[in-house]
Amino acid sequence: MVETAALTLRDYRTDVKPIWCPGCGDFGVLSSTHKALVQLQLRPENVVIASGIGCSSRLPYFVKTYGIHGLHGRSLPLATGMKLARPDLTVLAYGGDGDMFSIGTGHTPHAARRNVDITAVCMDNQIYGLTKAQTSPTSVRGYKSKSTPYGSPDEPLNPVLLALASGASFVARAYSARAKELTDLLIKGIQHKGFAFIHVKSPCVEFINTYDMLDRLVEEMPVDHDPSDLQAAMNLAVTEEKVHVGVFYESERPVYEEVAHSWFKPTDFDADAFFRRF
């Protein structure tokens, strides 16, 4: 890195034009991602962004790093394999609320408890955007869409609470319209050693425009909140009146891939010795 010039935003932009509707919250997440990479001066070839399927999951095509546009709900398994095989790289996983908390629900708790050093970003618009406005697992109870025309009977899931309950070692929330904060949280998440979960409120202007509501409800973490206190974090996560942004929880514990690489000083495979044991 010493010889090369500092990286700028242009170094992270691709030629692929974002497909998002004008005003979509996902633009904010994209631009904060670009900015976080610049601030961290991570070389594009040393970063991998995995994603699932959805409007939000198209993001990797718009960032000039390595990318994996995976399958619906499967960003975390892809990111996990990448990070375990290549602990030297910075690995991120992006997805929507449907992607990470409907079809992908089964992977999130395991990625969290394993503490693989991945930064997971859930772009939550409380709707299935790409398939044109069906109720999502974060849609509020009673929400009417064509998939629940008489109102959804389901209680929404709480992504922050679930991440906390699953053992994530870093949990935060941001709002796509507040770029600076979002960029800072992305940086913190990437710098955090271990699994970082960032819940981003990212409105869908086409189908459920929540900007006004969020502008009203979004609020900083209470100043006295201690992010090392899991119980306090969970209590804060269940309060419904406000949408708190900032770091809910942060702690350090051993990282999966380091543990897995600590048992042996690796040698080549010795076939003869192996067969001799049988």
Binding site: V48, K64, H69, L71, L76, A85, P266
Partner: protein
């Protein structure tokens, strides 16, 4: 003077020592230089239910479980009833008079009170398997000193159990010497002590993976594939690799694909239910052109089906499964030793053609033990995917339309980034719905498959040159087919067999050449539908005589020999 070969079957209940007595006899026989081929089956639960273990032991090479049974050791009444019908004419029955009452018809039979000896005499019921082993050693000529050595090395770390176990072995041996007047011909002549590998198919797949350079495994336990995972869990960390227990099979194959994009040679192993769950990701590996190996150890299906029984009924899914036009390669090993080579082959094919490669093993192959000379892998050729460095700071045209369909790939950490797509894409991997790209990329993906067919290695062929009856087999039935062919040729029948290892795509020319002079082609398979036979007809228009078996057990050479005589 004795027979050069014995087929021994132990039958009883799961958890009674049937399997462990069999395993130890096998290990002991191999130590003494005999060649061994085993088969085992047991219920899919931890305790109880019918279990049996068959050992074919010989001073010559053995390729299958053989025909019938020379010696039946019945641990309980059910074990006697279910298996006595398969005892050969000269066969011997050994039974515990406490639990089995033979109907006394025909066979030589020796009562041995295994339960009484272990429970009452020794007050060590867990030693019953060693009492059985001792008796077997006395009756069939395995040197007891050598067996003792084996027991000692097995229990090296559990000294407290050693004395009791050796005592059990002794008692079994002495009981037989004193009380049984041997009137059967089964006694193994001493043989040359050659050190052989004694291994099962799952361990052999793991060995092949390690030798091929596999450094990432992502898996989820499932019978009968689990030992591939467990062996690699112990071995991969030693060679700098990672063995990852995933939360389910989607995560398993997802992690494998992630690791492979990261540049690792990576694999997973599963059985039918897990393979079905991996279907969507198989298509992803096809469209994103990610090299990876998926071992499927087939069991009885559908659904949870018969987890501990043998079947070759995942062929259809391996070749045709998954939505869309999704080419992939399917490889099937024929024996335990071949598991090593076909696993290496699978990795080579995956790397060369940048696509998912399925390795079809089966329950019998995975859990049977074969003996073979330590393989020399030092000259095995290993393929590595075609890589490139892109220009620094530039996006890389990862899916370049080349003549043979293979495009160079960049690896994270190297300049020349790209995004691996599950959507149809242009040369840079960017999504597009334009007709021309879907056509071009579909063509490209199938060009690679065609190339694989063209470059495919020659298949083993057995039997006479001027054959009139042919057999085309696939997978773990190879040994039984080969013995059947030998027997037929010995009888003067004009028979030959071809056993392709890459079962999809087929090396068309070779098969047509094999088939064209034949009057009839038999395709033996362990499934109901004749899946490979159907595929052969669909692909090459070749009509065959089907030989299907779907009772959960492997072929005996006699099954195939009989069919040969039928069609001749």
């Amino acid at each position: 003077m004795g027979k050069s070969e014995i087929i021994i079957r132990l039958a009883g209940e799961g958890g009674e020592g049937v399997i462990s007595a069999g395993d130890m006899f096998t290990a002991g026989a191999a130590r003494l230089g005999y060649q061994v081929f085993t088969f085992r089956t047991y219920p899919s639960q931890i305790k109880g239910g019918p279990a049996w273990y068959q050992i074919r032991v010989s001073d010559k090479s053995v390729l299958s479980m053989g025909d019938g049974v020379d010696v039946l050791i019945a641990f309980n009444e059910e074990g006697y009833r279910d298996h006595i019908g398969e005892l050969n004419k000269d066969g011997v029955l050994i039974y515990d008079p406490d639990t089995v009452t033979p109907d006394g018809k025909g066979h030589t039979s020796y009562p041995v009170p295994f339960n009484e000896i272990s429970r009452k005499k020794l007050d060590f019921f867990r030693g019953k398997n060693l009492v059985v082993l001792g008796t077997m050693s006395a009756l069939f000529g395995l040197d007891p000193g050598s067996l003792e050595g084996m027991v000692r090395s097995r229990l090296a770390r559990r000294a407290e159990l050693l004395t009791k176990n050796l005592e059990s072995l002794d008692h079994g041996y002495n009981y037989a010497r004193k009380n049984i007047e041997k009137s059967d011909p089964y006694y193994l002549a001493a043989t040359e002590k050659i050190s052989r590998v004694v291994m099962g198919g799952n361990e052999a797949v793991a060995a092949g993976a390690l030798a091929a350079g596999c450094r990432f495994y992502g898996g989820y336990p499932i019978t009968p594939a689990t030992e591939i995972f467990l062996t690699l869990a112990a071995e991969l960390p030693k060679v700098g690799g990672v063995c990852f227990q995933a939360e389910d099979e989607m995560a398993a194959i997802g992690s494998v694909i992630g690791a492979s994009i990261g540049g690792s040679k990576a694999m997973t192993a599963t059985s039918g239910p897990g393979l079905s769950l991996m279907t969507e990701f198989l298509g992803y590996a096809t469209i994103a052109e990610v090299p990876c190996v998926i071992a499927d150890v087939q069991r009885g299906g559908p659904a949870t089906g018969l987890p501990t029984k043998n079947e070759q009924s995942d062929f259809f899914h391996a070749v045709y499964g998954g939505h869309g036009d999704a080419p992939r390669i399917v490889v099937a090993p024929g024996s335990v030793e071949d598991c090593i080579y076909q696993t290496i082959n699978a990795f080579n094919l995956a790397e060369r053609y940048q696509m998912p490669v399925l390795l079809l093993s089966d329950q019998s192959l995975s859990h049977r033990t074969e003996t073979f000379l330590p393989p020399d892998l030092s000259h095995v050729r290993l393929e590595e995917r075609l890589t490139a460095n892109g220009a620094a700071g530039a996006e890389f045209a990862r899916y370049k339309l080349t003549e043979n369909g293979i495009s160079p790939v960049t690896i994270p950490g190297r300049p020349g980034t790209y995004s691996s797509p599950g959507l149809e894409h242009d040369e840079k991997g960017a999504p597009t719905t334009a007709s021309k790209w879907h056509i071009a990329m579909t063509d490209k993906r199938f060009r690679k498959l065609d190339l694989a067919a063209k470059e495919g290695a020659a298949s083993p062929r057995y039997g006479v040159r001027n054959a009139e009856i042919g057999i085309i087999g696939w997978g773990g039935t190879e040994g039984a087919i080969r013995e059947a062919v030998d027997r037929a040729v010995a009888k003067g029948y004009k028979v030959a067999a071809l056993h392709p290892k890459m079962v999809h795509p087929l090396t068309k020319g070779e098969i047509e050449k094999f088939v064209s002079p034949l009057k009839k082609v038999i395709v033996p398979e362990i499934n109901y539908q004749g899946q490979f036979a159907h595929y052969l007809r669909g692909t090459l228009g070749i009509d065959v005589v089907r030989l299907n078996k779907y009772d959960g057990l492997p072929f005996c050479p006699g099954d195939i020999f009989q069919k040969i005589e039928e069609v001749i």
